[in-house]
């Protein structure tokens, strides 16, 4: 369902970014990078409002003709971005939320891997499989 899933470090460089199909990888890189604009916007505005209640899900960052870009930011300011194809309109908001939640958990596990040093790009196989699961997952 997701066509691109990205994890972006606090400093806004990509920790992990994967997209299908592989060929227009570049496009997604641009897209995700641009989406950071909105993420930051939301953090700065929403951040103040929702500082107490832990709403990490930022919702739809921006739609394009073909894709919808959703955002999620951890309290450690690590950002998750999920791009889905606009064509599958059936996708509900809470499904996206759950995807993000899964992503977040999996990311936490990666962080807990003693051999992973924070800040490095993520190579974890388990994370990879989880992500590809999300991408293939039919709906």
């Amino acid at each position: 369902m997701a066509v691109c899933i990205a994890v972006i470090a606090k400093e806004n460089y990509p920790l992990y970014i994967r997209s299908i199909p592989a060929e227009n990888k570049l496009k997604f890189h641009y897209m995700v990078h641009t989406s950071l604009d909105v993420v930051e916007e939301k953090i700065s505005t929403v951040g103040k409002a929702l500082v107490d209640q832990r709403e990490l899900y930022l919702g739809l960052l921006y739609p394009t003709e073909d894709y919808k870009v959703y955002g999620y930011v951890t309290n450690s300011k690590v950002k998750f971005v999920i791009v889905v194809d606009s064509s599958n309109t059936a996708l509900r908001d809470n499904e996206i939320r759950s995807m993000f939640r899964k992503l977040h958990n999996s990311y936490t596990d990666v962080m807990c891997n003693p051999f992973y040093n924070p800040g490095d790009t993520i190579q974890s196989k388990s994370f990879d499989t989880m992500v590809s699961g999300m991408m293939l997952q039919a709906c």
């Binding site: 806004n12 570049l26 003709e65």
Partner: protein, 1260 residues
């Protein structure tokens, strides 16, 4: 008041709910104005069904004359035309009239209403006094009302209201008006509630039917829209909007389902190919033509959407929510595009783009229309999306129609353009007026290349500006990039470059590898076209090393560089300088020797490990490391300090320096921010080590400074420059393979000092890759060293008298030992260098590894010993050992003075250092003339004498013996042979007879050997004898040549050897008993005999008597320390001996043995008694002593008391003498050997006094 005939124009702003008026039209007309004015004044609470919240609404009504046609027939869904209330007006006040006409009229009216079963009616009775006046028969007003009520309003009397004197200004009329209006309003509302409720129910039922085959969305649409209209009519825009949203959602759902597979039949109508794509129209509140299309099932999807959205837009604007419009607009547009895809509607190429473009602009303009600048500015975050979308679309259109290409559109493009424009149809009247209407813009944009560019730029810039203002830089950059692409297409790289640079910056800053690579590629192209060779090459080198590119691409860019590098055009001699970091990376640097310290003329190798990022092998013409040279303060150190010394740079133990690799592109810039590396710096004055100045140095300034402009500089490396250091290391024609390469710089050290590597420059044809700073700081040091000689003993103590090995170490320094160079040692007679053939010199390199051995020539003349040195080049070490021997001087004079000659030198024979073996040390100084200096080196060696000698004189009566004890102080053991004792003065009549048995002896470390000689003489013996012991010795270690015996001599002097007196003591038991017994007195007889005539030796104490016979005074003393004896009577006394041979003086005294057994004799001692030279003083003294003697005999005191008495006496005497201030007589001991005690060590048997014990034994 409008004519009810003809279909009502549906223009919702004008719409009011319809109320019909029957009865007396004049009455109504009279009141109409007031009514119309008054009705909406008061708001009314509207309680609504389905738990919707109540609302206050201002009611209006559209009063039309009652006609039967107005009443809706069954199944007519029209709501707008629906009369909600029917009013009958009359002012009849006359019963007759009422009965005759009015009643029937009302009945008729009522019946009609009944037929259409409408129950919303009201009868208004207007009564005015004016009318009454000209009436003759006046009835009570009430009667008519009552009649009407009774006739029609059965059980709902409120359906008839009285409006009294409506045209008068009276409180009464006011009241009645209010009552009437309230009634009116209530009834209207009731009607609304009822009818709307009913309508909604119908609508719902209709919606439920949507699964049924015949169901048509369009019909339903119309129905629900009707409701929407009504709500709108009642200014309930919220509710109205809800209706449309529901429709929207419903439709969307259908489309989705269609996508999911189950397509409703009616959808087909929307799947018809798109023929017109004139975008949204939002100017008028309702677009009738589209509505008709929908009504006639003739609407395309775009039509429906457009219409729907236009309605939503209108309502939203009524609701003062323009931003929602923009938001919804974007969604809508995206949505439509998706839906068209989903429904597989065939759309001409570009049509959709047109539609979207137009729509975007339409929305934007509409919004601008309804809110002021400031608002727009502040809310651009909402509109910017549309702007960009429009821009994209315009761009794609431009590309489609060949308007973005260098050489304009071709015919095909033009045709396409024409078709697209055709699809737009005619411009609509409402926009015709405005010059900037989307329609016009699009037409213009597509008309020509220039206009397109103009508009496209406007759009893009507008969008970028907005993004910048709301701080969405990334988005802005992205637009910039697409703009750049556009420019590149148009062949205008100049404009493109800046955009690309900006974009690149942000990607680099945030470490997005792929975008960086991609943008770089574009930039490279751009720079190439611009002919910015340097930048182009720099970028190429970056790309060539970029792992995100394919092998081919990398090769291509690498080739680009090489091509440029190798193309020979002479007009451009100036080399291109590029940063090295992208080309290759310095991994590590390995010094050989690892200490990075080399002596002048030495060879220094530096091996670079260079990691080439290039995909292909590159041939470097040369690679040069420029070196900075500085004379180091602490340059002139002692050569020895250099041995295996490390430079203080961050050298690994093995002389390897590692360079941390720059983080690859794609990692955050934060992470490669280097931390400050501060070091303390102390500047000490070279003379005294006092601190001149101190400070803190930042060692990695260049890194920190480079940070600021790092992002930009990566693309613009012009900052880098080659500093041409005077000194440099170079390696020529090295082929740099991809990956790790090893390059060796080899240099011969010239000037001493500190060398710092500054830059690394690799030259490929006309291209130079420069590593501007080498960090961490790499330094090597070249030193020059003075030749210098060191001499040290092999074992810690050199022993005199035997051959000792001494080690010579010679650091050649800058001096090269030439043929025939020799060390000249000026000999000292006490110190010999033993010449032998077996000397071997070892030659070592400065680093310490052995090079070769060579035999050493040592020749000795009587003056000098010369050691011819083996040939050794500079900065080598020559080591050899020599055997030296220091003679032991036969005796050690007490000369304090140290003669600083080259000869031997004595230190006074005091036991100095290491007291545990207190060997006599003597220092030797050798002066050596070295070939490299005119001054002679003086070297001090300390030798130790291994032996020590003690002598003693032994006598037996007159016979004399000399005992000599030889101590071996050293740690080695020696063989001693033929010891000899000589009398130096060579007195004829004296000779020494050795009594030593064996001639050969071994003496181990710390052992003693005793020798004995008898001294024989005839005639007079000299008062003093000078003897010399001489013994041959050789260290017992070297068995190989036992005959290497060295002499050891020791001189000593003996005086007063000759025996003057013999003392003989005898003890006799008391008379009658043959044994001494304990407790009973025995007599002790001490006889002192003078052996010789008067000699010089005792001349001094000889006294001359008057009669010429001279005597000496002696004092004797009997002591028994072991207290075996009690000496009774006087134990000491002074006697005068006649100075004559054989003169004997006997002393008797009583002693008592205290124990039984063999008791040793009490000791008898004699002293010279030297009175002060006054005889009369001395005389009585002795007399008294003598007579005292006698006294003490008869008076038998016990020994204790006696001795005490003596002491007391002597003490008193001495006291008195002192007291008189008179000088005391002196006692002087004889020197050993002058007195011989013959009874020394004799014993006498003492038996117990009684045999009680024995008796007892007998008894038992």
């Amino acid at each position: 008041m409008e004519s009810p005939e003809g279909k009502p124009i549906i223009y919702t702003m004008e719409n009011k709910p319809i109320a019909t008026c029957a009865g007396d039209q004049n009455v109504f007309t009279a009141l109409y104005q007031t009514l119309a004015r008054e009705l909406p004044r008061e708001p009314m609470e509207w309680r609504r069904s389905y738990g919707r919240p109540p609302k206050m609404i201002h009611l209006e009504a559209n009063f039309v004359q009652f006609k039967e046609e107005l009443l809706p027939s069954e199944g007519n869904k029209a709501l707008l035309t629906f009369p909600f209330l029917h009013i009958y007006w009359t002012d009849c006040c006359d019963t007759e009239v009422y009965k005759s006409s009015v009643k029937d009229d009302i009945t008729k009216w009522q019946n009609i209403l009944k037929n259409y079963n409408t129950v919303d009616w009201l009868i208004v009775l207007v009564d005015s006094d004016a009318k009454k006046k000209n009436k003759t028969n006046i009835l009570p007003r009430t009667s008519i009302v009552d009649k009407i009520r009774s006739d029609f309003c059965n059980k709902q009397s409120d359906r008839c209201v009285v409006l009294s004197d409506p045209l008068k200004e009276s409180s009464r009329s006011q009241e009645s008006w209010n009552a009437f209006l309230n009634k009116l309003r209530t009834l209207l509302l009731m009607s609304f509630t009822k009818n709307l409720g009913k309508f909604e129910d119908d609508m719902r039922t209709l919606r439920e039917k949507r699964t049924e085959p015949g169901w048509s969305f369009c019909e339903y649409f119309m129905v629900q829209e009707e409701l929407a209209f009504v709500f709108e009519m009642l200014q309930q825009y919220e509710d109205a909007l809800v209706q449309y949203d529901e429709l929207d959602a419903l439709f969307t759902q259908y489309v989705v389902n269609f996508g999911a597979g189950d397509g409703a039949k009616w959808l087909k109508s929307f799947c018809q190919p798109v023929r017109s794509w004139n975008g949204l129209i939002l100017r008028k509140p309702i677009d009738m033509e589209k509505r008709d299309l929908i009504q006639k099932n003739g609407a395309s999807l775009l039509d429906l959407r457009s219409y729907l959205f236009s309605r939503q837009c209108t309502l939203l604007i009524f609701l003062q929510r323009p931003w929602e419009v923009t938001q919804r607009a974007l969604e809508l547009l995206h949505n439509c595009v998706q839906e068209l895809r989903l429904l597989e509607v065939s759309v001409p190429l570009g049509a959709l783009d047109c539609w979207v473009f137009l729509s975007c602009l339409e929305v934007l303009q509409r919004i601008e229309g309804c809110c002021d600048r400031a608002q727009l500015e502040s809310n651009s975050s909402h509109t910017v999306g549309l702007w960009t979308y429009a821009t994209e679309k315009l761009k794609s259109l431009g590309y489609l129609c060949g308007l973005a290409s260098e050489n304009g559109p071709n015919s095909e493009d033009l045709n396409r353009t024409v078709d697209l424009l055709a699809g737009l149809g005619e411009e609509r009247p409402e926009t015709a007026s405005s010059l900037q209407s989307p329609y016009k813009i699009l037409k213009e944009a597509l008309s020509s290349v220039e206009t397109f560019e103009k508009h496209y730029l406007q759009q893009s810039c507008a969008a970028m500006e907005m993004y910048k203002t709301i701080g969405r830089l990334r988005s802005a950059r992205l637009i910039g990039k697409s703009l750049a692409e556009f420019y590149m297409r148009k062949g205008d790289p100049q404009k493109a470059e800046t955009f690309l640079q900006d974009a690149l910056k942000i990607y680099l800053a945030e470490g997005w590898a792929l975008p960086v690579t991609h943008t770089r590629k574009q930039l490279a192209e751009c720079q190439k076209q611009l002919g910015q060779t340097e930048n182009y090459l720099q970028t190429s080198s970056l790309l060539a090393s970029d792992v995100n590119l394919t092998e081919e691409e990398r090769k291509h860019f690498c080739q680009e560089i090489l091509n440029f590098a190798n193309c020979q055009d002479d007009n451009q001699v100036q080399k291109i300088i590029l940063g090295m970091s992208t080309f290759a990376q310095l991994k590590e640097l390995h010094f050989e020797p690892s200490s990075a310290v080399v002596h002048v003329g030495g060879i220094l190798n530096i091996e670079l490990s260079l990691f080439s990022h290039m995909p292909v092998a590159v041939l470097l013409e040369n690679i040069v490391a420029s070196v900075h040279f500085s004379i180091e303060k602490s340059n002139f150190r002692k050569a020895t300090e250099w041995q295996g010394k490390q430079r203080k740079v961050s050298l690994g133990s093995n002389g390897i320096i590692h360079f941390q690799s720059d983080p690859p592109i794609g990692s955050p810039c934060q992470s490669n921010m280097p931390s400050l590396e501060l070091y303390e710096m102390y500047d000490k004055s070279p003379s005294d080590n006092s601190l001149n100045s101190t400070g803190v140095i930042c060692k990695n300034v260049h890194l920190l400074l480079r940070r600021q402009e790092s992002v930009s500089s990566i693309e613009m490396p012009s900052a880098i420059s080659v500093e041409d250091g005077a000194q440099s290391l170079r390696a020529n024609n090295t082929l740099l393979q991809p990956g790790l390469n090893k390059i060796v710089f080899s240099t011969q050290a010239k000037d001493p000092g500190l060398y710092t590597l500054r830059q690394l420059v690799a030259t490929v044809g006309r291209v130079q890759f420069v590593l501007p700073h080498i960090y961490p700081i790499v330094q090597y040091e070249i030193y020059s060293q003075e030749p210098n000689l060191k001499v040290e003993p092999l074992n810690d103590n050199l022993l005199a008298g035997i051959a000792q090995r001494v080690k010579f170490t010679l650091f050649t320094g800058h001096y090269t030992i030439r043929n025939g160079d020799a060390l000249q040692l000026s000999n000292a007679d006490s110190l010999i260098i033993l010449c032998s053939a077996k000397y071997v010199a070892t030659i070592l390199a400065n680093t310490g590894e052995k090079i070769k051995d060579s035999t050493l020539m040592v020749q000795s003349s009587e003056k000098v010993t010369s050691i011819t040195l083996p040939l050794a080049s500079a900065y080598h070490i020559v080591e050899f050992e020599l055997e030296v021997m220091c003679h032991i001087p036969s005796s050690i004079p007490k000369s304090e003075s140290e003669r600083l000659t080259n000869g031997e030198l004595y230190r006074k024979t005091k036991e100095r250092h290491n007291p545990e073996l207190c060997m006599v040390s003597l220092d030797q100084k050798i002066s050596i003339d070295c070939p490299w200096s005119i001054y002679s080196t003086i070297i001090a060696l300390t030798f130790y004498i291994p032996f020590k000698v003690k002598h003693s004189l032994l006598s037996a009566g007159k016979r004399k013996y000399i005992q000599v004890c030889l101590q071996n102080m050293s740690d080695v053991s020696f063989n001693l042979s033929d010891p000899q004792l000589k009398e130096i003065m060579k007195y004829p009549n004296v000779n020494l007879i050795s009594m030593n048995q064996e001639n050969q002896q071994q003496i181990f470390s710390k052992q003693n050997v005793f020798y004995l000689w008898e001294l024989k003489w005839s005639k007079e013996l000299p008062s003093c004898l000078q003897c010399q012991l001489s013994v041959m010795f050789s260290p017992s270690s070297d068995e190989d040549e036992p005959n290497s015996l060295k002499p050891y001599t020791h001189d000593f002097i003996m005086e007063n050897i000759y025996t003057l007196y013999t003392i003989k003591a005898e003890i006799y038991p008391s008379l009658g008993s043959e044994h001494c017994r304990t407790g009973c007195l025995c007599s002790l007889e001490v006889s002192i005999m003078r052996i010789a005539e008067l000699l010089e030796t005792d001349r001094d104490e000889a006294l001359t008597e008057s009669d010429g016979l001279c005597t000496t005074k002696l004092m004797y003393e009997v002591v028994d320390n072991s207290s075996n004896w009690a000496v009774c009577g006087k134990s000491s006394g002074v006697i005068s001996m006649p100075v004559a041979a054989r003169a004997i003086h006997k002393v008797h005294m009583e002693v008592m043995p205290l124990f039984a057994g063999n008791l040793p004799f009490p000791t008898v001692r004699i002293f010279k008694y030297l009175p002060h030279h006054s005889i009369h003083m001395a005389q009585p003294d002795t007399d008294s002593l003598i007579e005292n003697d006698t006294l003490s005999i008869d008076k038998s005191l016990d020994e204790q008391a006696d001795s005490s008495s003596i002491r007391s006496r002597t003490s008193t005497h001495s006291a008195s003498s002192e007291h008189k201030g008179l000088p005391m007589p002196r006692l002087q001991p004889f020197s050993i050997g002058q007195v011989f005690n013959s009874s020394a060590g004799m014993q006498v048997l003492v038996v117990p006094s009684k045999d009680d014990h024995v008796l007892e034994v007998n008894v038992t």
